[in-house]
């Protein structure tokens, strides 16, 4: 049976939905194994088993997080060799893509990023040029490395849980030799909202919010959504850069994207135009955002947004 290996970078205390999506894809390709690093909580191990992981690989070293990606790629290459996997699946994050990149060189394997679907024969689906094309691509090599976007498949668990075997992988001695070291870490405060790239609903604000994201935060919370921003808003320092949606920010593809006080420059559209439903609120009827909005409101966001929030609260009782 074909084998697929899922890499989970620090599973933490509860598995992310995106990790379960990777496992679902892995099982559709054959036998699924997991390589992780960091701590493994008992309930996370059990969840991996109930989602069909046959083997759990762990690294012999505990300091992989002290370096930027290189040693993780070295560990993963060793895990691929041990598992005999033909497909390696990673998260489509900055780190995930770079680990994939280096793994590709180490294994002479084709790497495909931004994947939104994988067929049973390994054909990967993705969209390119800011969502203007959908393509299928395939690795021409014995091993394929794919980084998969969140919300790409529905999570399914197999009928029977497995009891995964635990295997320790020796991290190559030279794995950290030429790696950049992480010497400082400043944690950012958690917002309590869903993660931007994984959220089903995103409420994004631009220069039009004029420094006040309050009304958008309330709407996001009423909808259970995440907050996003244009570069004009992040550059102004009104909100952190990690909220930026677009070409140099995050690519999101939620069920609903509400754009308020954003003009809709090409670099902003690049990050959101594959959203299922787009709502735009903007004072200026000429804003390009209206060209792609399913529902557009020409109006002042400071009037429209609070009214919508009130109405949602009323309906939800």
């Amino acid at each position: 049976m074909a084998k697929a290996l899922v890499f989970i970078d620090n599973p933490g205390s509860a598995l992310k939905k995106s990790s379960l999506e990777l496992l679902t894809i892995a099982r559709s390709l054959g036998e699924a194994a997991v390589a992780f690093n960091g701590e493994l909580h008992d309930d996370v191990a059990a969840a991996l088993g109930s989602h069909g992981a046959s083997v759990l690989y762990r690294p012999s070293a505990t300091d992989l997080d002290d370096y930027l990606v290189a040693p993780k790629a070295a560990y993963l290459a060793a895990a691929v060799a041990a598992s005999g996997a033909e497909t390696v699946l990673l998260e489509n994050t900055a780190d995930g893509k770079e680990i994939a990149a280096r793994l590709g060189v180490k294994l002479n394997a084709g790497v495909i990023t931004d994947v939104v679907g994988v067929d049973a024969d390994g054909t990967a689906h993705k969209s390119v040029l800011a969502g203007s094309y959908t393509t299928t691509a395939k690795a021409r090599t014995a091993v394929a490395v794919l980084t998969v976007k969140p919300n790409s498949v529905d999570v399914e668990a197999p009928a029977a849980a497995s009891t995964p075997e635990a295997v320790t992988i020796d991290v190559p001695a030279d794995a950290t030799a030429n790696a950049a070291r992480i010497t400082g870490r400043a944690e950012k405060p958690a917002s309590g909202r869903p993660e931007l790239t994984e959220a089903r609903i995103v409420v994004a604000g631009g220069r039009g919010v004029d420094g006040d994201f309050g009304p958008l935060e309330e709407l996001a919370d009423a909808l259970g959504g995440a907050l996003g921003a244009s570069r004009a808003a992040t550059d102004a320092g009104w909100i952190g850069h990690d909220y930026q949606v677009g070409q140099t920010g995050k690519t999101v593809s939620p069920q609903l994207y509400i754009s308020a006080g954003i003009s809709g420059a090409i670099q902003q559209k690049a990050g959101m135009q594959t959203s299922k439903v787009i709502v735009a609120i903007n004072k200026d009827a000429e804003s390009p955002i209206f060209e792609i909005a399913d529902f557009g409101i020409i109006g002042d966001l400071f009037k429209v947004v609070p009214q919508a929030t009130e109405e949602i609260k009323k309906r939800k009782g």
């Binding site: 770079e98 990149a101 950012k188 609903l256 009827a285 409101i297």
Partner: protein, 266 residues
Amino acid sequence: MKIVVLVKHVPDAQFDRHLTGPGNTTDRDESILSELDEYALEAALQLSEARGGAKAGNEVIALSMGPAGAVNAIKKSLQIGASSGAHLSDDALAGSDAAATSLALAAAIRYLAADAPVDLVLTGMASTDGETSLVPAQLAERLGLPQVTFASSLEVNGERVVARRDGDAHADTVEATLPALVSVTDQINEPRYPNFKGILAAKKKKITALTLADIGVDAAQVGAAGSLTAVETAEARPPRTAGTIITDEGDAGIKLVEFLAAQKLL
């Protein structure tokens, strides 16, 4: 200090962009210097200037790989302030994926290091066409350099590179020793524009034309033949069309909620 900056000639995102030909490669007719590479070039120029610039022996080499037109990305870099350029161009390179691209670029960088070692390879955080961010990491792997990617600040103190890297949950300080590969985000600086003096000076600057033979790479290792992935199908997504547009008459918030309810989004 000897810095190689990678500059890519990419289709202008302001226009419609297309995939063409049997390999579904990007049409490069309306191309420009990738905006994201301007930040890398600016970072290189600042490092060079802080060390006395070209007069003090600092070098900023703009390296591009691509068909004849890609030389425009190099010319623009020279106008902005790079000291010389290198253009790797060979018919066999057409259709290269990230693996083949990084293989060729690694060989080109080794070629440029033949007379004096390269201290720093600087790149943008991603190309604005492929947008994969694979090439910087693959170059670091191939050249055996520490990679300091997505830097939103950069300092070089002696042999030490210190950068800031913003993640979702945390911001990291990352350190490495030279030689290193650094990719920078659009947060790092404000790129300068070419001025008249720069445009004149650029005319006298050298652009080295490189072929695969010069850098010792076999045609079979690059292009469609040497790529490890193949695009099999490409379909233009139907452009999004505008839906209902209303003007707020005091009740648009309520109409919005009605729309969301009808779409089952509440």
